[in-house]
Amino acid sequence: MITFDGVTKRYAGGTVAVDDLGLEVPTGEITVFVGPSGCGKTTSLRMINRMVDPTGGRVLLDGVDVTTIDPPTLRRGIGYVIQQAGLFPHRKVVDNVATVPRLLGWERRRARARAMELLERVGLDAALADRYPFQLSGGQQQRVGVARALAADPPVLLMDEPFSAVDPVVRASLQDELLRLQAELRKTIVFVTHDIDEAIKLGDRVAVLRVGGRLAQLDAPARLLAEPADDFVREFLGRDRGIRLLSFVPSGDLPLRTDLTVPVSTTASARGTAEPWLALVDDGGRPLGWIAPRSLPDSGTPADVRPEPYGTFVRGRDPLRSVLDAALLSPSGHAIAVDESGRVEGVVTREALDAALARATGDARG
């Protein structure tokens, strides 16, 4: 656990970058520091590994004041990832990753073996190990940066806008990768960003800082969206808070109707049903779209019409937001639930969705 205990940093020029910051970063969780430029995020982060020393208060690492620990020793136990990755241009990828183990006195072969293991962990091809950093894409460099920070298996990881220099698609995949790694590794991570969506996606808890280095709010993302502490936080969170909140509501307990699907190979006319819409499913169980039985020709089978557009969600995995999205994409107003392999499990009706939405907003407030 990392504890900020009344921490203040006043730079030589007189700028107060961090003002009486008090918060706890729980072990094994991702805590995100987010806020506008210049609000003291980087300064706060660097007070953990003593790249900056506080001018007031204390930063404690598992109860020990970090200023009592010799900086190189402290830092070798704390992984650090920055925006431009900070890779050593004169060292091959594998040797970049092996840096901290080498500093810790591991012999070269063991350090390199460990580095190869980590490259695989962060999803990099072993063939990249012998390249120099300039021969990698920005996204690959960032992955190497993460691998390097993890090489000596430090319990704490500090990340300062690590993904903000790559394009949105790569950024999203790096974020997913981090969450996947964290599910395995359970590090204590402090993650700095100015992107609130990134903060909400990654954080177990999010600390919103305001300029002048004061803590505005520290909460779980859903709570932050539902109940911003003040106008500053509300404005910083931006629009569509209600919709974004639905990203935190699970879809697993939604009632499914299985009587609203019809196989495309059926020979009977579907006109008999009273339902205005049916979900058409192919022989493999995959959705084809919605059909309106009443619009079928007299003796027509479902194969005779062109299905209308549809949306799906993976039940249990996707949040309520995806269900709403799927419903909005369908003329029926219903969402098609599929399993991980894309086969239809059933349909969530507009009525069931409405009820779930009503419950969700109630829960988030309570």
Binding site: N49, M51, P71, P72, T73, L74, R75, R76, I78, Y80, I82, Q83, Q84, A85, G86, L87, F88, P89, H90, R91, T99, V100, L103, Y132, P133, F134, R148, L158
Partner: protein, 222 residues
Amino acid sequence: MGEEPLVRWDWIGRNLPVLRELLVDNAVMALVPVLAGLLLALPLGLAGVRWRRLYQPTVGVMNVVYSLPSLAVFIVLIPITGLATRLTVMVPLTFYAMAVLVPAVVDGLAAVPDHVRQSAVAMGFTPLRRLLQVELPIAVPVVLAGLRVATVSSVSLVSVGALVGRGGLGYLFIDGWQRQFPTPIIVGIVLIVLLAGIADLLLVGAQRLLTPWAGSRTRRRA
């Protein structure tokens, strides 16, 4: 004299031992100062980076030294280091090399990207280890570029020493001029250019070998 050919090959053949001696003398007097200059430039360059305020005055002094006519410096040194000694030539050349190399070391260290230095700090490098394992290696391409300039100019500057009795291949210019005999002059020029060219090629080779990663510079610009 009208029938005199530009190059008399038989003269070359007869004087091979002397030519070899002059060539070696020239190489030693040119390269030892470059090496000494590099060794001196490293601590001075480091000091210039560490104490920024020292840097400009140091470069100022170096530039003044560089602007001094070499012949004048040789003559001033004769009472101290002796007439026609290697030292008289090598001491000024060492300063000339430093005038090129101190800025090269400072520029090379300044070329280390800040995020690279920061991440070295954050990983727990001690300052000395950071210097030796991160900053100096990254400065190598810039320092080597300075080293090439220093080496080539040092090789050709040696010949001025002939005027104070010790100029390596420069002796051939005086000899040829005094005797109105072009062969030694041409041979001298060719050997100096060859010597400079070979030294430069060796340095380029060293650069390829030492900094396979430096493709980053050219490729990033491309």
